[in-house]
């Protein structure tokens, strides 16, 4: 059976009664204990997203707290130096806290308040999801715990400091590879034990269906702003438009593309290819991984023949994840989006070039997207337009960049 993306229906709602996209991605593969809390959350969210008062509240916080709209700028110097396509950036890293994770965190805290929960827990890889959740929790008066892999605690120090400053507790996760995948598992296990008092925020468009929905619904703010900005700049959505975004869990890409779903815009997702010449990567879509179940959802996932989840390696903690959102699996299978990967080295080079030529300094995650833009732009005509989602700021990667390139410039 072949599936198509339906027009005029939000992508997050294009699932069947088992919450599966395209009949095979997503679902709720969860322990019995979580059935009810997930059911309750599903019902609450369905109600809230239709509630005008709630939407106004969300928009108010997005405007006054997150800061909307984030800038849409042309990267003149980069475009000129490469020749070919015109390159633009949506500078989402200008949002409060420095990355797109603030949208999901804010919405989750609003929902937690409505659900009457006093505690909120979340996972984090690069530390942005954790930092934003701790910020929003502080703002909304919720007690917050962040689960983070021990390896990531070491490599994303600036965000760790920020989380602690916001008064949240960081729970170091020392099982498995000590990265995002283990942080998500540990956070879910914590929720199994505390779901009666605690709201869980999953940091990306992964996990049981409701978390995919809430996250993509929240980050959709990015493209709601962008489509207006694009129309202002070009008069309409231009024909030769490419929207390039990095994908780890896939939350920023889902939000960046959402409002353009029914247009001719081309979507390119860039996964983490890992170190050059290494067999380890975090690119399940690019490298043809099989469908498996991870963190409660069916998706393309890096795994062995038996179904044990595989190890990944990437310089970017935020992309260092063996799975990928069921939404992106669906976009890939329906050929609505294309996926490729960039290596650690490509990302570092892209970070360096963009930071040198332009006024922005993308973190290592969006540097993967810039690497792809830099690769294809010279081959394209000057009438073609590329927009890259610069969804994070390099400040958090200061230590890694210094170590790899000798110095850090922002």
């Amino acid at each position: 059976m072949s599936f198509k993306i339906k027009k005029n229906i939000p992508l997050i709602d294009q699932h069947d009664k088992n919450f599966m996209y395209g009949g095979k991605f997503g679902g709720n593969f969860i322990p019995e204990t979580l059935k009810k809390p997930i059911d309750d959350l599903t019902k609450l969210f369905a109600k809230l997203r239709k509630d005008k008062k709630f939407l106004r509240e969300r928009d108010q916080y997005f405007t006054s707290y997150v800061g909307t709209p984030t800038p849409f700028i042309k990267l003149e110097n980069l475009s000129d130096s490469l020749g070919g396509a015109q390159i633009y950036a949506k500078v989402v890293s200008e949002a409060n806290g420095g990355a797109h994770k603030i949208y999901n965190a804010t919405v989750h805290c609003l929902i937690a308040k409505k659900a009457g929960k006093k505690y909120v827990v979340g996972d984090t890889g690069a530390g942005y999801a954790g930092k934003m959740l701790s910020m929003a929790a502080k703002k909304f008066g919720l007690k917050c715990k962040i689960f983070m892999g021990a390896k990531d605690i070491k490599r994303q120090r600036p965000n760790v400091v920020a989380i602690r400053k916001n008064g949240a507790e960081i729970v170091p996760v020392t099982t498995g590879s000590q990265t995002l995948v283990d942080a998500v598992s540990e956070c879910m296990r914590y929720w199994v034990s505390n779901c009666d008092t605690t709201h869980m925020c999953v940091g990306s468009t992964v996990g049981p269906n409701i978390f995919i929905k809430i996250c993509a619904w929240s980050t959709a703010q990015i493209s709601r702003e962008l489509i207006k900005q694009v129309k202002e700049e070009f008069g309409k959505v231009p024909k030769n438009l490419k929207l390039i975004n990095c994908v780890g869990g896939g939350s920023s890409a889902a939000g960046f593309w959402n409002e353009f779903m029914d247009t001719d815009a081309e979507f390119i997702g860039v996964e983490a290819g890992g170190p050059k010449n290494s067999r380890l990567h975090a690119a399940p879509l690019t490298n043809g991984s099989k469908i498996g179940i991870l963190h409660g959802a069916a998706q393309y996932v890096i795994q062995d023949k038996e179904g044990q989840i595989g190890s990944t390696e990437s310089i970017s903690a935020g992309l260092d994840y063996p799975g990928i959102s069921p939404l992106h699996c669906f976009l890939k299978d329906t050929k609505r989006a294309k996926y490729t990967s960039a290596s650690d080295e490509d990302a570092l080079k892209a970070y360096q070039l963009v930071s040198k030529l332009e006024n922005i300094s993308p973190s290592l995650e969006p540097s993967h997207a810039f690497a792809e833009a830099i690769r294809i732009a010279p081959k394209l005509r000057s009438s073609e337009i590329i927009i890259v989602n610069s969804c994070g700021d390099s400040l958090k990667d200061k230590d890694i960049i210094k170590q790899r390139l000798g110095s850090y410039t922002r």
């Binding site: 593969f29 019995e32 009810k36 199994v192 498996g292 023949k305 044990q308 989840i309």
Partner: protein
Amino acid sequence: MKSKIRLTFDKCKKAKRPALITYTVAGDNTKNNSLKILNKISKHADILELGFPHNTPIADGGQIQGSSHRALKNGIKLKDVFQIVKKFKKNNPNKPVILMGYFNLIYQNGENNFLKSCKLSGVDGLIIVDLPYPENKIFANKCKKKSINFIQLLSPTTSKERMKKIVKDSHDMIYYISMLSTTGGKLKVSPKKILKNYNIIKRVNPKKNLVIGFGITDKTISSLKSANGLVVGSMLCKTITNSLKMRQNPVTNLVKVVYSLKRKII
């Protein structure tokens, strides 16, 4: 024909005691030892749960994670798990064995293929942690057709309405999760409260065999002995961990623990 699981519960009811159900992980701490463990503890235990380990478990506490990690490090594969069951069943054909694990392993192996291996090795039942009702309906039916018990789970968060549906669709055994916890958590609910919930479920259909698991140790087991069955898992995994730490034989230590658990419920 009555299943071996059902016959076991019948036998225990006659003896007016709960069935003692043990959980150990296949391949912990070695393939040989886990077979030895099954052989030895089956003298005292009524039903044996055997975990097939997964490296990304979302509902297991530290003890079982530790056991799974050891087993995987030893290179345990699904085919080894079935080998262990087959060898055990050769000497103990009437002792029920239940495999417990996460769905991805079955998904990758292929549902039909997996059930075929279950049948060939003599597996009596399955507990799949992350395949809840009603998503498990199709697979549970496949199990039934092969005379393999699919064991449904209930938890303190299960609504009454849902509970009725699950009990109705259940086979010979239902598993009640005592509290909101991963496996191996400290019992944070009083046995009285657990038994109260237990009785609510029993009233839906008194004929169904209902067992209680999660947080049960030698300290709490006797206070719950009015149940049809009691599952002890993390305490056994912990025994293996501690034995290895102290360079003692995990098999003999485990037999002692299971024997003392049994003494507390007869």
